[in-house]
Structure formats: structure tokens, C-alpha cells
């Protein structure tokens, strides 16, 4: 448990750091996938099997692939990137904000009595329970989510196809 936690945390943090620091965009995405995998591993460790599958299916199978496609559509993927500036104009402000927020959160967590809590239970939830909950107590949000996803789907297509539609 402990070893697994530390290994997975290391993978996650390294993946995240590489994802935002690498120069080559595709390398960034590959590191991001490493990060997603680490998070998925954490879910498994936390006995959330279903979330593990959802994480892999959606983040690695869909989001990462989507990002790769976006990169393919917006650059010359075969060429190497030149020595371009990768950081934004006010990067120091962003860094500073991030450091301050990390410090604040750190302080809060240290103070909180809840934090030192140990696991409440170890059995995984069965998928049946999640399914029942989704269509009983959580039916309205579930349906709303369906509408949202449909809207997002149509919206994405419309935005991406804007030029083509305008041409017609």
C-alpha cells in the first residue's frame, strides 16, 4: 500500500511536471498520459475500480487522443520545433501564483484535524451499486449530463467546422 502510493505519486508528479515543461508538444501529451495513468493507479489503490476504468477509458482513450488530433491539425507534426519561446509573457506571475496557492493549501492541510485520517473501509464498491445510484438518486444530474455531453458534441463540431460551414 505505502510503496504503491509512493511509486504512483512519483509517476503522477513527474508526469505532470514533464507535461507542462517539455518543449515538444507530443512529448507533453505523452507525459500527460503518464500522469493520467498514475491517477488511475491511485483510484485502484483507493478501491474505486469503476473510476479506474472510467479514467483510463475517457482520459487516455478519449481526451489524450483528442489532444493528439488537435496537435496534428494545428502543426507540422513531422517537422521539429524551432528554438521558439515556450513561456508566456508574464510567466513569472503564473509561477508565483502557483507557488502561493501550493503554500496556502499546504498550510491548510497541515492544520486540518480531518487530514490525518486513516481508511474507513477496504472493500471496493460494486458496479451494480453505482449503476443503481445513477438511475435512482442521481437520475436528474445523470440526464443533465447526457444533455450537456450532446450539446458539447454538437458545439465542438460546429466550432471546428465553422469555416467549412461558412464557405457553403
Amino acid at each position: 500500500m505505502e510503496i504503491a502510493f509512493w511509486i504512483l505519486s512519483a509517476i503522477t508528479v513527474i508526469g505532470a511536471i514533464l507535461a507542462i515543461t517539455m518543449r515538444n508538444l507530443v512529448h507533453c501529451v505523452l507525459s500527460l498520459i503518464l500522469f493520467f495513468l498514475g491517477i488511475a493507479g491511485h483510484y485502484l489503490l483507493l478501491r474505486a475500480d469503476f473510476l479506474f476504468a472510467v479514467q483510463v477509458l475517457i482520459y487516455i482513450g478519449a481526451v489524450a487522443v483528442l489532444i493528439l488530433f488537435a496537435i496534428m491539425l494545428t502543426r507540422h507534426v513531422t517537422g521539429t520545433e524551432g528554438p521558439r519561446e515556450v513561456l508566456g509573457g508574464k510567466w513569472w506571475a503564473g509561477m508565483g501564483t502557483a507557488v502561493i496557492i501550493a503554500g496556502l493549501l499546504w498550510a491548510i492541510i497541515r492544520k486540518d484535524p480531518l487530514a490525518a485520517m486513516l481508511p474507513a473501509g477496504m472493500a471496493s464498491t460494486s458496479v451494480t451499486e453505482i449503476g443503481r445510484a445513477l438511475v435512482a438518486d442521481w437520475l436528474v444530474p445523470f440526464e443533465a449530463m447526457g444533455v450537456l455531453l450532446t450539446a458539447a458534441l454538437i458545439g465542438a463540431v460546429v466550432i471546428a467546422l465553422e469555416e467549412v460551414i461558412r464557405k457553403r
Binding site: N24, V26, H27, L30, I33, D49, F50, F52, A53, V54, V56, L57, I60, G61, A62, A64, V65, L68, F69, M72, V77, T78, S124, S126, V127, T128
Partner: protein, 409 residues
């Protein structure tokens, strides 16, 4: 795993009995094995399924290549490999040695690290897929309660390897192949999952073992297979097509279409890396065949299968026989069909397979709520057939026509 854990003490006892005959070292080892500590039992219980998966399935892969070459040879009026060993039986070994000793070429401008990583990553998801395939009654490496979902999640990850390989090679043909592979896998994932949803609804569980169990019983353990239900039959066809597309088998092998883009994403791979790509691809296709068998063809169920050692062996036989049947089916299709084109492949997935799999889910619902079986049979069959006709009319290309030819006077 649980099953192994149960029988592990007996197994170890048997081993210790055998080892007891050895001089010097035999006695103490036998003593240790006949009364093992709990951690050792757990380790054995974990190690045996892993050993099983990594030894049996690559073996099947090796001989699948041989069977494929032989069968293709027969289809094409040839003999196929027959030089290495009797009937070419040692051919896979010779191939392996050849590939291992070949020079490993990395293009100068390639992204070396990603280029190296891609074939490795190609194999991992394929092997992981086997962890949820039940090979016999109660015999599954890991009985996850999210089994099917796990399988889909893992199989999506395999697309990354294809992309990495194609992108890192810095070859335009590789890149085209990678793009094709990604687009194809992503779009065939959807109808496949929906086809599986029908089965999950009928079996009431995501666990592969439970799905296989739900298909037992009936006459000779055969009549309750899902493929002998109207929705199951449709689902079987949808899922088989999806699985063939997902593992890029002919006629959906466009990511590596050798006549168009040379070899697609593995154009720039040679030697053992190439072999790893092949291994990953074949393992994924065998695992998908295994999942198809589990979900539709009754899994390990067959005449004589059941609990106990004999029943377990018979059930394993049935599983592997069905698996072999599925593999031969894909080879047969490969030998006789031309390849479809990219746009046709995509429109087939979105315009035919996807609506049909949604219709199929409705059919399962009908099947569930109509209590009288004969009526359920008639209603679901009618529903599916009508939709099939409508969809095939809608999706039919206006380009295809029957032609008459004239002769010059």
C-alpha cells in the same frame, strides 16, 4: 486467481511429493512446500495465472502466425511454410531467431526514445487484456467486477502505441498510418462497447466470469449461448466486425495497408521491435477473439463442461476450440477479401454499426420485458430485421450499381 489459491496447497503437496525423491536438497524443500506459509501461497496464486498468460498466449500467437501462413497458402494454391521441421512446425522459432538477430535500425531523424517505447507499449495492453478472459469454468486470471469495462479501457490504450510508433518514425507514411489507426480505433470503440452493453444487460454483470456463467445450462450447455438469441446474433456480428477493425485485421487493415502506405506505423521498425509490434497486434486480436467467445459464444460452456477437474479441463478445451475457430475465421476473411477505404471504413462505423448497436440494446430490453419466449423471439427478430433493412437502405452508396456492357457493332 481465487481458484488457484484454493488448489495451491494440493498442488504444492504434489510437488513436494515429487521433490521428496531428490537427494540432499529434496527433503528440506519438500518440507517447506508441504506446509507453506501464507505469503508463499499467495505468491504462487499470483504467479501461476501470470505465468499462464505470458506463456500460453504468446505460444498461441506463434502458432497463429504459422496457421495463418499455412491457411493463406492453401487459399492461394500454395503450400506455405514447410521447410523448418515437419509441416513447418518449427517455423515460428526460426522466425523468432531471425527477427532477434536482425539489425535494429532507427532512422536518424526519429524521436529515439518514443521510437523505442512504442513497441513496448504495444505489447503491454494486449497482455493485460488476457487478465479478464475466462479460459475455463471459474478459471480467470483476475475476476474483476468491472471485467468488460476494464478490457475496453485497456484496449483503447493500445492506440497510443500505434500513434507513438507512427509519429516517432518521422516518416510520412508512418504518420498517415498512425492517423488512420487512431481514427479507426476510436470510431470502432463506440459500436463495440454498445454491442457489449447488450450482453451486459442480459447477463446483469460486467464481470466476464459472470457473463460466461450466464450462458451455461440448457441442452448440452449450448442452447443458452447468447449467439443463439436474436439480439445476441446481431451483437456477435457487430462485435466481431468491431474487434477485427480494432485489431486492424483485413478487410480493415488500413493502418498498415501495405499497398498504400507501405506498412503504416511500423514502416521504420525492424528486427525485434517489429516483432513486438506484431506480437502486440496478434495478442490483441486473440484477446478480442477470446472476449467475443466469452460474451457471445458461451465462453467455456460446451457439452461436458462444469466444475471439478474433469469439467474444468473440458471447459478449457471448449474455450480454446472456440478461440481457434474465431482465429481461423479471421484468417479466412483475410485470404478472401479486399481492403476497404478509409472514408468507407469510417462511414460504415458511424452509419451502420453505431445505429445498429443502439437498436440492439433496445432489442435486449424487449427481450427482458416480454415474458413469453416465443413472442419475444418474434418481436425482437422483427425489430432487428426491419432496422437492418432500413439502415442498409440508408447507408447504401448511390455509386454502386449493376452494370450492363455493350459491344461495338
Amino acid at each position: 486467481m481465487d481458484q488457484v489459491y484454493k488448489v495451491a496447497p494440493q498442488l504444492l503437496k504434489f510437488l513436494s511429493y515429487l521433490l521428496g525423491w531428490l537427494p540432499w536438497i529434496g527433503k528440506p524443500v519438500a518440507g517447506f512446500l508441504s506446509n507453506p506459509p501464507a505469503w508463499f501461497l499467495l505468491a504462487v496464486a499470483i504467479a501461476i495465472p501470470i505465468l499462464f498468460v505470458v506463456s500460453v498466449f504468446p505460444g498461441i500467437f506463434a502458432y497463429t502466425t504459422l496457421v495463418e501462413r499455412k491457411a493463406l497458402g492453401r487459399i492461394q494454391n500454395r503450400i506455405g511454410p514447410n521447410r523448418v521441421g515437419r509441416w513447418g512446425l518449427l517455423q515460428p522459432i526460426a522466425d523468432g531467431v531471425k527477427l532477434l538477430t536482425k539489425e535494429d535500425i532507427v532512422p536518424r531523424s526519429a524521436d529515439k526514445f518514443v521510437h523505442f517505447l512504442a513497441p513496448v507499449i504495444a505489447v503491454i495492453p494486449s497482455v493485460l487484456l488476457f487478465s479478464v478472459v475466462p479460459v475455463g469454468a471459474g478459471l480467470v486470471p483476475v475476476d474483476l467486477n468491472i471485467g468488460i469495462l476494464f478490457a475496453f479501457a485497456i484496449s483503447t490504450a493500445s492506440v497510443l502505441a500505434l500513434f507513438m510508433g507512427g509519429w516517432a518514425s518521422r516518416n510520412k507514411f508512418s504518420l498517415l498510418g498512425a492517423m488512420r489507426a487512431v481514427a479507426q480505433v476510436v470510431s470502432y470503440e463506440v459500436p463495440m462497447v454498445l454491442a457489449a452493453v447488450a450482453v451486459v444487460m442480459a447477463a446483469g454483470s460486467l464481470s466476464t466470469l459472470a457473463i460466461a456463467k450466464a450462458q451455461g445450462g440448457g441442452i448440452l450447455n449450448v442452447t443458452h449461448w447468447f449467439v443463439f438469441r436474436p439480439w445476441g446474433f446481431v451483437g456477435f456480428i457487430l462485435f466481431t466486425i468491431g474487434a477485427m477493425a480494432e485489431s486492424a485485421r483485413t478487410p480493415f487493415d488500413i493502418p498498415e495497408a501495405e499497398s498504400e502506405i507501405i506498412a503504416g506505423y511500423h514502416t521504420e521498425y525492424s528486427g525485434f521491435k517489429f516483432a513486438l509490434f506484431q506480437l502486440g497486434e496478434y495478442l490483441a486480436s486473440i484477446a478480442m477473439a477470446g472476449i467475443t467467445v466469452t460474451m457471445f459464444l458461451g465462453g467455456y460452456n460446451g457439452p461436458g463442461s462444469g466444475p471439478g477437474i474433469l469439467g474444468g479441463l473440458i471447459s478449457m478445451f471448449w474455450f480454446f476450440a472456440k478461440l481457434g475457430g474465431m482465429i481461423v475465421l479471421t484468417i479466412w476473411i483475410r485470404g478472401t477479401w479486399p481492403r476497404v477505404r478509409v472514408d468507407q471504413l469510417m462511414s460504415f462505423a458511424w452509419k451502420v454499426l453505431l445505429p445498429m448497436s443502439i437498436v440492439n440494446i433496445v432489442a435486449v430490453g424487449m427481450w427482458h420485458y416480454i415474458a413469453i419466449r416465443p413472442i419475444a423471439w418474434v418481436v425482437t427478430t422483427l425489430w432487428l430485421v426491419l432496422w437492418f433493412i432500413t439502415l442498409s437502405k440508408l447507408a447504401a452508396s448511390e455509386n454502386i450499381e449493376k452494370r450492363e456492357y455493350r459491344y461495338a457493332s
